[in-house]
């Protein structure tokens, strides 16, 4: 017998039973498949062909589909909304579920095989064999930091969650606490960031290593995800910043007297258990209080003494205390390729933009060769359009489909041409192998977040998870680039151009990359400001054993920062030499013109 015939048989039986059909059997099957996939990849949002339900989108249509797809007449279903079975939404959904499945319903969590809930996990312990279906109004935990759906998908695929950490960091520096209320983001199985539906923070620890299955279903966005039993689930927080549950000092339930439940306020200011059924059972002495204290998240009650503001940050006033931070900057260990002197080697690099309407084919760069060793700075000089920035973009990965060969000593022992890597792998190189300082700080910084937050983005991407260590490191870097530490928590958008550039430099150096690319780092700044940034770069280069490529149209910048340089013209390298030699004894006509111009 085929699956299709079995399903149509069931459909016929249902029709005979007289119960209304809300979801046909084929649709249920699809939902079940999605749920199985979700169980296989905990926390991953599985797309499914979410159907229209008799309730509106946003009213539990996703949860309803999950419950109807997995439930049957032998199930006993508990439906709650805000922890309450009597809320109109709960009543409505219960009516629908029972009418369609012909199942039993209950208020007692212990009797339920499926609990469908909006905004709560029951206070009672759920056990193996039970399933909770959480209705999800927003399945995308990254939506708050990223509006592009494509970009969110990429971040999940690459487990690139640093911006979530930056968001928390920003909350902590501006307000001392994380602002996220309900729906606190969690990491599932150390892999996927997940929105646990807007359950209160009180319920979040209950997801971790649970005995029961949790299904989260978002009908509107057509996504189902799951937390299988005994899966690690951790609220996202810094190692040294305790996760906090909701708590109002001195509150007990006005009805049952419990102090270890999630409570909501009434109009007269009293607090009551949000889980109405639990509250009733406490009053009936039908609970095990000791057992409940074990599962209640009492270890996460707020402790002002452990909040970030309880730790003095003396170094902000006295940067001298950060001496150890600057000492942490790299000294002598930069990787070189096996048997070679270089850290970065570029061979035959080229980039051609194909012709299209409105623009002809352009050879932006061709046959570019050079390599750079630790402690060495190479200049690439040329006028705008000479191809020097193209070369830089091809190396950093802002441009793809380049010809040629680029190798990094620090990546796979230089065995791999990084131009052949996937965009994901290229992005990973930028966390700690390769850094860039752009002419436009807006390219390298998020202007809406603080100077410290921008550095945090790089550090958290590299795996830093200790708030205070991140603070110290960021302060050390900012102090080194001479950004006053009293501005560390200001949004970079409020900074002057020179100050933004300093922040960008600090961020680029945050993870001690092997290779630093500087793309016109002082162009566009006022002369005196540019001079300050240039001096800073010169000092930083002198004190670090880093391989540097400096791209500039300005001979004085190349002269100040580099020992060697190449001259580019129309996409090609036309002359190379020691920087002072190119300036004193240029051979090519083009170089002579550049020098004449630089001499004014």
């Amino acid at each position: 017998m085929s699956t299709a015939s079995v399903l149509s048989e069931i459909d016929r039986e249902l029709e005979l039973s007289g119960r209304p059909t809300v979801l046909d059997e084929q649709a249920k099957r699809e939902v079940r498949r999605a749920m199985l996939s979700a169980v296989c990849i905990p926390g991953y949002q599985v797309p499914f062909g979410s159907r229209e339900m008799p309730v509106a989108r946003g009213w539990g249509s996703g949860g309803l589909q999950a419950t109807l797809a997995m439930g049957g007449s032998e199930d006993v279903v508990k439906v709650i909304d805000q922890g309450d079975e009597e809320g109109v939404n709960a009543v409505n959904l219960r009516r629908l579920i029972r009418g369609t499945l012909g199942c039993g319903t209950t208020a007692d969590t212990r009797e339920a095989s499926i609990v469908q809930s909006r905004h709560r996990i029951p206070e009672d312990r759920m056990v193996a064999g039970q399933t909770i279906v959480l209705q999800v109004p927003n399945s995308e935990p990254l939506r708050g930091v990223e509006k592009s759906v494509r970009e969110c998908n990429r971040m999940h695929a690459e487990a690139d969650y640093s911006r979530i950490w930056v968001g928390m960091y920003e909350d902590l520096v501006t307000g001392g606490v994380v602002n996220t209320g309900a729906g606190y983001p969690v990491m599932v199985n150390d892999r996927y960031l997940m929105a646990p539906s807007p359950i209160p923070r009180w319920d979040v620890p209950r997801l971790n290593d649970s005995d029961h299955l949790t299904i989260l279903s978002h009908g509107r966005d057509k996504k189902i995800y799951a937390v299988p039993p005994h899966t690690p689930v951790a609220p996202v927080t810094f190692d040294d910043v305790p996760f906090e549950v909701e708590f109002t000092e001195g509150t007990t339930c006005g009805l049952c007297g419990s102090a270890d439940t999630f409570m909501v306020q009434t109009s007269d200011g009293r607090f009551l258990c949000s889980d109405v059924e639990w509250c009733r059972r406490v009053r009936d002495h039908d609970v095990d209080p000791a057992e409940h204290r074990v599962i209640a998240p009492l270890q996460y009650l707020p402790d002002a003494g452990k909040r970030v503001r309880a730790t003095a940050e003396d170094y902000l006033v006295d940067p001298g205390l950060l001496a150890d931070e600057s000492a942490g900057f790299r000294d002598a260990v930069t990787t070189t390729a096996p048997g070679a002197e270089w850290t970065l080697k570029v061979s035959g690099l080229g980039k051609t933009y194909p012709a299209r309407r409105g623009s002809s084919a352009v050879v932006a760069a061709a046959d570019v060769d050079f390599d750079v060793a630790p402690g060495e700075a190479l200049g690439i000089i040329g006028e705008s359009g000479s191809g020097k920035s193209t070369v830089m973009k091809c190396i950093i990965g802002d441009e793809y489909q380049a010809q040629g060969d680029v190798r990094l000593a620090g990546f796979d022992d230089a065995r791999t041409n990084i131009l052949q890597l996937t965009p994901t792998e290229r992005r990973n190189l930028r966390i700690s192998a390769l850094s860039v300082v752009y002419q436009d700080p807006a390219m390298g910084l998020n202007l809406r977040i603080s100077a410290g937050g921008n550095i945090t983005e790089r550090l958290t991407a590299a795996g830093w998870r200790n708030y205070r260590a991140i603070r110290r490191r960021a302060a050390g870097l900012l102090d080194r680039v001479e950004v006053p530490l009293n501005r560390m928590d200001d949004a970079v958008g409020q900074f002057s151009g020179g100050m933004r550039q300093r922040v960008q430099i600090a961020k680029a150096l945050a993870t001690d990359p092997d290779v630093l690319l500087l793309d016109e780092p002082t162009t566009g700044l006022d002369a005196s400001v540019a001079a300050g940034v240039l001096d800073l770069l010169r000092e930083l280069l002198a004190e670090r054993n880093i391989a540097v490529v400096v791209v500039s149209h300005d001979f004085s910048v190349i002269d100040a920062l580099t020992d060697r340089a190449i001259v580019m013209h129309r996409g090609r390298v036309i002359e190379t030499g020691l920087t002072d030699q190119l300036f004193a004894d240029p051979h090519e006509a083009y170089t002579q013109r550049l020098v004449a111009a630089a001499r004014g």
């Binding site: 100040a560 030699q581 090519e588 002579q592």
Partner: protein, 255 residues
């Protein structure tokens, strides 16, 4: 094979400039220059303006790129053909294995004398603390007032700049120093002080290849003199012999 008695061997060095801005005009500078400098030897270069004296130093230091010929530096362990050396290797040798004191100070913008000289010492492999104390000694030796040590070099007087430049050259000196008119802008007192410092280099076994305009200085310091004329070595020998013989050719500078 490295000749243990020589530090620098220059053979048949040629240099021509092509000026593209004026229709590719070619200006010949060196026309096959050959000479050598012994370990610890002080060799002076004399000649009239435009004879190619500075060009010669610059071609040795690769500040100019010679057209042809050979420049061999004999270090303690090897014989290095500088004209065939990669830019990177040359950049590393510079300042460390041999130094160059140009006529004009070219400190990076907005650096002070102390920082400039410390940087030179660091290049020669000293620690930050050592470099600082060596730099202080060198600056004092050349009479740079301590009040000026942190002042931007570009605001110093011509004489002060020349002494700072020289200090950077002689701080923990390498085995070969190229000096291009190192005392030309100095008043008599400071000039004397500088000459003493340069003279002392010989006692530290530092070879010097120097351009001087002043024949008295050559007589006083140099063991040997090369006389350049139109890009070629016109004469070579002990200063007292050569300078007397070339008196006519050198005319005004001898006076």
């Amino acid at each position: 094979m490295s000749d243990p008695t020589e530090i620098l061997t220059v053979s048949n060095l040629r240099k021509t400039f092509t000026m593209h801005a004026v229709g590719g005009r070619r200006v010949s500078s060196l026309q096959g220059v050959s000479f050598s400098v012994g370990v610890g030897e002080h060799v002076a270069i004399a000649g009239s303006s435009g004879a190619g004296k500075s060009s010669l130093l610059r071609c040795v230091y690769r500040n100019y790129l010679p057209d042809s010929g050979s420049v061999v530096l004999h270090t303690a362990t090897e014989r290095i053909e500088l004209t065939e050396l990669s830019d990177r290797a040359m950049a590393r040798l510079r300042g460390r294995e041999f130094g160059y004191v140009s006529q004009f100070l070219s400190a990076p913008p907005r650096t002070g004398p102390l920082q400039h000289v410390v940087t030179a010492a660091l290049r020669r492999g000293h620690s930050r603390e050592e470099s600082r104390s060596l730099a202080e000694t060198a600056l004092r030796r050349l009479g740079i007032d301590e009040l000026l040590w942190d002042i931007d070099c570009s605001v110093l007087s011509g004489g002060e700049r020349q002494r700072v430049n020289l200090a950077a050259g002689i701080v923990s000196p390498p085995r070969l120093l190229l000096l291009d008119e190192p005392v030309s802008a100095l008043d008599p007192a400071n000039r004397e002080r500088a000459l003493e410092v340069i003279d002392e280099l010989a006692h530290r076994n530092v070879a010097v290849l120097a351009v001087y305009h002043d024949m008295h200085i050559i007589r006083r310091l140099a063991q040997r003199v090369l006389v350049l004329s139109d890009g070629s070595i016109a004469d070579e020998g002990r200063p007292e012999d050569v300078l007397a013989a070339r008196h006519a050719a050198l005319g005004e500078v001898v006076a």
